[in-house]
Symmetry: C2
Subunit: 160 residues, 2 copies
């Protein structure tokens, strides 16, 4: 059991101010520099050799957005704070606290915070999972052929 | 894909009043009649053939409690509303919104709502898991030999 796992094995980790948790590191969103994203942090709430899933908390600062990506693994998302919009496949939807967002396998998705409020969400994934794919220029052009997706990608937060 | 799975595959399921969700059934806590519990409901937020984990929302009415049990599978719990106390192993701790509770394998645990407020929490588990064990009389006596556990089990909510 390494130090991080040991920390996670504490029976109780208290919630702290501003969506931080005792013993939970606030991490950069991605190590992957290819991805385009803005103002996102990541906290790993549950990750353990005895768990098949992981639960993470992501927070997108006002006006920020996660990377536009797809992958084989599925996401189960619960909005915890703030509001914004998300793209899932070809759907653009407003999101607010406690809404559930399902991202099936191989589905393009992105989360955007409103311009005046952070957007925080829990995301459950399989512990063992594939790496995200980013859109090629051709795929991006295809997505943007849909006017509502183009508007979302160009100005999702402000129009929220 | 059956009807329930299809519902869960909707991209967005809106949060509704009072910690209910669009398309999510409010279920009895347990089908198992052996277990002693009081005033608990269960909603399955994410459960899918493509997910190794499940995310459920449990709500314990004021003064209610979940069953005292243990099992091989692990729990990752995030308190969503209200307050109360929990027993994890030999620890009795107060819990409030956004606290994280880790229940390792084979650890006795129970959640109790305060007498004046419901306690609602998310619980992540493996989709494939063993059935809970309830304490034998001897095991219960052993737990109650610890005065703080005895107080928790007899009157956890009121002393909260």
């Amino acid at each position: 059991m390494d130090e991080r796992t040991a920390g996670r094995r504490k029976a109780i980790r208290k919630a702290q101010r501003e969506y931080r948790w005792e013993g939970v590191e606030c991490l950069p969103y991605k190590e992957d520099e290819r991805a385009l994203f803005k103002a996102v942090t990541r906290q790993i709430l549950f990750s353990d050799p005895d768990l098949a899933g992981e639960l993470r908390y992501f927070e997108v600062a006002p006006g920020g957005f996660t990377s536009l990506e797809r992958h084989e693994h599925m996401h189960g998302v619960l909005i915890l704070r703030g509001r914004g919009k998300c793209l899932v496949g070809t759907e653009v939807r407003a999101i607010e606290p406690h809404d559930l967002v399902t991202v099936p396998a191989w589905t393009w998705h992105q989360f955007r915070a409103a311009s005046d409020e952070p957007l925080g969400f829990l995301c459950m994934v399989d512990a063992t999972r594939d790496r995200p794919q980013l859109p090629t220029e051709a795929e991006l052009a295809e997505l943007k052929a849909d006017a509502k997706i183009a508007a979302f990608l160009e100005d999702g937060a402000k129009s929220g």
